[in-house]
């Protein structure tokens, strides 16, 4: 059973291949994402995060979900040398951590409902569980220069995959001071981690590190990364090829 809905400004897909799954199980997942969006969307005037940013709530009034996310954000900030920071110009925007966390919570809900073989994909950040038809799930890394293309095919089970990047910048951008040298900026960084929460938060932080980001991932036990730069070259970590189909 596979369903897609547009939520939180992105397409969210849930596919469960266990025959025991019911439509209600999947609907619960989408209802959960809507609830998360109601709390954390900075685009919604009446969301809790918007109220906090307007100074309308004091810390004691925060929901448990908000307290959890703020604590996880602070922890991530410390683990990434400050590269992950939800504070920008005095406004808190925890969307860099909420998505991965919400997908992970939704996956936990499906497991509690008895599902073992499924994936949840929210805007390209994915939690996979078990297998599909006896084989690992096949995940393609999108070409940042041509969104119709796949540049790598991964075979994964029980992992989280997340990609940070800029899809609109391409190799046609050059540094005016170095006209003949292609920009070495990073356009896409895909992380495979123990779960999507971990993969997502470290993808966000290491993307912000620029070229050093892939070195940061190399040093992180249990994580692999595939970085694509503006000259269409990929740099990947030592254990990455284990997942390449």
């Amino acid at each position: 059973m596979k369903q897609l809905q547009l939520l939180m400004g992105m397409p969210i897909t849930v596919e469960v291949v266990d025959p025991s799954v019911t439509e209600a199980d999947i609907e619960k997942v989408f209802a959960y994402f809507r609830a998360v969006d109601d709390i954390f969307s900075t685009y919604k005037k009446h969301s809790e995060i918007s109220k906090i940013n307007r100074g309308e709530l004091c810390a004691e009034e925060y929901s448990d979900e908000m307290k959890t996310i703020l604590a996880l954000s602070e922890q991530t900030k410390q683990e990434t040398q400050g590269y992950f920071d939800i504070q920008h110009n005095g406004i808190a925007d925890p969307s860099g951590i909420v998505k991965g966390w919400a997908i992970f919570q939704a996956a936990t809900m499906l497991k509690k409902a008895g599902c073992t073989n499924f994936y949840i994909d929210a805007g390209g950040d994915i939690q996979v569980s078990g297998k599909k038809d006896g084989n690992p799930w096949r995940i393609g890394i999108r070409n940042p220069f041509n969104r119709k293309e796949i540049v790598k095919v991964l075979a994964v089970m029980d992992k989280g995959i997340a990609t940070s990047g800029t899809a609109i910048r391409g190799q046609h951008i050059y540094d005016p001071h170095l006209l003949h040298t292609p920009l070495q900026d990073i356009v896409s960084l895909t992380i495979i981690g123990p779960n999507v929460y971990e993969a997502d938060r470290f993808a966000t932080a290491s993307f912000a590190m620029g070229k050093r980001g892939i070195n940061f991932i190399e040093q992180l036990p249990g994580f692999e990364g595939y970085m694509i730069d503006a000259s269409a070259r990929a740099t990947f970590t030592s254990g990455f090829e284990r997942y390449v189909l």
Binding site: G124, G140, F236, T237
Partner: protein, 161 residues
């Protein structure tokens, strides 16, 4: 960082070695020494970096009375320190080592690259290439055009209400 540590260790080792040596009564750096025990007798116990006597670059070196070294500048041999080559120049003034200059030490231009590649991340690199295989799911940065479409459709749905 590692290079700095390696360099400091070498410099430190040499200085300690020089101090020990200065007190041991052996003059291995200076060839044809006329003072103290013969330098060749020390070859069995001295590290390779000073084993080979360097040629004195200052001719007519004058022996200071009572000292173990002749004044002058002495360039040591080039020695393999396993992770790179070391070569030093010792300056003797008034029979004492007054300066030790490193003419060569391991850096990124030579074999220290080996040790660095062991210690540093083992990253690989390739040109990206389109794949034809079928996939179940696609990971990629959330497309701004996707977000634009979503935002627009959201705005339009509000406009409808």
């Amino acid at each position: 960082m590692k290079k700095t540590i390696v360099s400091l260790v070498i410099i430190g080792t040499f200085i300690i070695y020089s101090i020990i040596h200065a007190h041991s009564g052996l003059a291995v750096v200076v060839p044809n020494t006329s003072v103290g025990s013969r330098s060749s007798s020390s070859s069995g116990t001295t590290p390779s970096s000073t084993e080979t006597p360097g040629a004195p670059v200052t001719p007519n070196a004058i022996a200071t009375p009572g000292s173990r070294y002749k004044d002058g500048s002495y360039t040591g041999s080039v020695d393999d320190a396993q992770w790179g080559f070391v070569q030093v120049k010792a300056v003797i003034t008034n029979g004492k080592i007054t300066n030790v200059q490193f003419l060569q030490y391991p850096n990124d231009r030579n074999r220290s690259i080996d040790i660095n590649s062991y210690a540093d991340p083992q990253l690989s690199s390739e040109a990206i290439q389109a794949q034809s295989a079928n996939v179940d799911i696609v990971t990629g940065a959330t497309d701004s055009s996707e977000a634009f479409i979503q935002s627009l459709s959201d705005a339009l749905s509000q406009a409808r209400a």
